[in-house]
């Protein structure tokens, strides 16, 4: 007998599998709605994670660059403010010297000597400064204090200048000592000969900070200050005219030094501006990468909510159909 019938098990299978599918789909869409991100990232990206991984990689690196940039900026601004202090001292001493010299009054001379001595100490203290535990002017030995005390400098220079009588000789001897690696550098400088490595503050952007306490410009400052401080030293016993000559020449030299300091400060300022630009660029890049990432993985909440509601409705309909069909059996109608 060939009767077309539809087996019970087929009906059950159909209802069961449809229920499971709908429940899974509701669960996925609830996840997507709650997290705002699509659940099946693979399907969204077509299996190629290159772009997304690149974004993530760049974001992590930008974060590190931001930290490095902040630290470089801090270092540079500290450098700049110390250079400003040094320049101030230089200009003030220079002004004093130029206006007061030549003088015959011992008191004026003494006052200038005292000023020079005091300012020398200030300059050395400034160059010995550090920021966040790093010495600024000591090269790679950022844990070292680059310069010995003003006292050491004056003592060493005094020894060196003993016996010189004319202004020219004194000056030449001092210059020789300051230029000699076995002289100033060996006695006074305790930092490193290697400058700091350039710091990377952005992709491919490096800034270098290579100012050291034994640079020519600082040596010039210290030499002129030290010479002025030693003019009335009893050990040297320099003549009255010699003292005036030395002080006048120091004052003139310091005018030239001021120019050098200005150009150094200009260079530091330029580097500071570069660091700031890099930071701005990094911040903009970060924002745009984050927004690309969100767009890439975003699950539109309105669309998801509509589909979720639709699935819920279908599940409810399926439940009521299941109940009804289970009641549709011939058994119920036989007596």
């Amino acid at each position: 007998m060939n009767v077309t019938s539809f087996g019970d098990l087929a009906q059950t299978l159909l209802l069961r599998s449809r229920t499971t599918t709908l429940k899974n789909s509701i669960k996925t869409m609830t996840d997507e709605l709650a997290s705002g991100q699509v659940s099946n990232v693979s399907a969204r990206l077509g299996g190629d994670f290159g772009y997304l991984a690149d974004i993530d990689n760049s974001l992590i690196r930008l974060q590190s660059y931001t930290v490095a940039g902040n630290e470089a900026g801090l270092f540079l601004s500290s450098t700049q403010s110390r250079l400003e202090l040094v320049q101030e001292n230089v200009s003030e001493l220079s002004d004093s010297l130029m206006s007061a010299v030549p003088t015959n009054l011992a008191s004026v001379q003494d006052q200038l000597v005292a000023q020079a001595s005091g300012r020398l100490e200030t300059v050395i203290a400034t160059l010995n400064g550090s920021i966040a535990g790093q010495s600024i002017f000591a090269g790679v030995s950022t844990d070292a204090i680059p310069l010995e005390s003003a006292e050491t400098l004056l003592n060493a220079l005094r020894t060196e200048l003993t016996g010189q009588t004319t202004a020219a000789d004194v000056r030449a001897a001092a210059q020789a000592w300051f230029d000699d690696p076995a002289g100033f550098k060996a006695t006074m400088y305790t930092g490193s000969d290697d400058p700091l490595e350039p710091i990377e503050v952005g992709p491919g952007e490096r800034v270098s900070m290579t100012v050291r306490a034994d640079d020519q410009v600082f040596r010039d400052v210290m030499m002129n200050f030290a010479l002025t401080a030693l003019v009335s030293d009893p050990t040297l016993a320099l003549g009255h005219g010699v003292r005036n000559d030395i002080m006048l020449e120091a004052g003139i030299e310091l005018l030239g030094v001021q120019d050098n300091l200005s150009s150094l400060r200009g260079a530091i300022g330029f580097t500071e501006a570069r660091v700031e630009d890099a930071q701005v660029r990094n911040s903009a890049a970060k924002t745009s990468l984050e927004s690309s990432r969100t767009t890439l993985l975003e699950a539109d909440p309105f669309d998801t909510a509509i589909r979720l509601e639709d699935a819920q409705f279908r599940l409810e309909s399926l439940y009521s159909v299941t109940v009804r069909t289970s009641q549709l059996s011939l058994v119920n109608f036989l007596r």
Binding site: M1, V3, S5, F6, G7, D8, L9, A10, L13, L14, S17, Q37, V41, S42, A43, L45, G47, D48, F49, G50, L52, A53, D54, D56, N57, I60, R61, Q63, S64, Y65, V67, A68, E71, A72, G133, Q134, S135, A138, G139, V140, S141, T142, D143, S192, D194, L196, E197, I199, E200, L297, S329, L330, V331, L334
Partner: protein
Amino acid sequence: MSLSTALNAALSGLMASGRAASLTSDNIANASTPGYGRRALEVSSQLLGSGVKVNGVTRHADPVLIANRRVAEADQAAASAVSSFYTRLTSAVGSASDPYSIASRLSSFEGSLIEASSRPDSAIRLDQIAVDAVSLATALNDASDAVQEMRSDADRQIGTLVEDLNASLSELQVVNSRITSSTLRGASVTSLMDRRQQIVDKINAIVPVNVVAREHNQIAVYSEGGAILLDGSAATIGFSASNTLVPSMTIDNGNVSGLTINGFSVRTDSVGGALRGGSLGAAFQIRDELGVAAQTDLDVVARDLIERYETPGLDPTVAANAPGLFTDMGNAFDPALEVGLSGRIQVNVAVDPNGDNETWRLRDGLGAAGPGPIGNAAQLNAFREVLTVERTLASGDFGTGTMAAADVGTALISRVNQRANNAENTLTYANTILHEMSEIELSQSVDTDLELQNLLRIEQAYAANARMIEVVDDLMERLLRI
């Protein structure tokens, strides 16, 4: 005479109705039994005399529908196994949006190098580099271990499946011969055939089969790959399980077992294997193809990392062939020992937080005699730059172009996730097909409404035949009273 023929006919009708009723109750009782073939009564009229003759019981089972469903079921079992392998591999390796993926850990390592080069004097930043490096090496180790664990699981599972297969085949042989002997005796074999169908279904999930009918209700069973599993007598499948698998144990070098059928070795690969296509084939595929490929990919990433840090001149304090920042268990890289490298990659013990913890060496060189100037960022910059160098990979199949370290990490993640995605799609497709085929097959199963309709007719027929007997009895009695 005509009265007695009437009586005989009625009696035969009663008997037929009784048989029909028992079949109907059998059907209704087994309405939910999977593998049950709906019984129907074959009747014909008597050749000599009158009445109804019961020819036998037919079992409704459409072999084409069953074969289709079996194909779908085997595919689904295989797809499911492959998909779980990839799901597990993806969780070991990570996906792109996962902050602990291998690619992300590599990026973090690079980031900590950048931050340390800004403050080389900071011990905390140097320690962070070491921590990130260890985290990266550990991720590779864990991924490699996961792959080998999955291979070991697959090997174990092959052992279990082969045991099940052998047991099912011998049971099948027994049932098959009983069916034949019962058929020859003329007894009913429908329940035995139900049982036989169930056994073949069980075998099919392990190895997809083709069933060929032989005479006297016997069957012969062949695998899709062409091996004879049962033809008269059952084949015996041989396999020896290994305990734990390590990367160097592959089927090519004979360190793991293949299959034998009746003592002869057979191929086990997914293209030409004799028992391919079902969960057994999938387990072999995982152990010998997918697992090995995944291990190779991980090893390529590990190799790239180690080789970058063994670049000559990168660290002047380290000798030419000495180990660099990443080592192969403390040794320099040896191309002959590439297999399993990702399970052995470690951070150099000198800077490892769990080793000597001399993280100042990251700044001053791994072989330096003592700490150098603390503001020196040159070596840190060099360590960082070597990650961005574009180089060609000497092994693996990530491509022939040049790649930076980050690209290699991304390629690994992309590949694993893409394969996982494909496997999932295949599984979804296989599930859908299986569902459809099952539904079609089950539409031939017992329909209780139909059985109840039959029951109504049987009731009526029985009542009519009984009435017939009553009437004939009555007539005979009247005759005897004459």
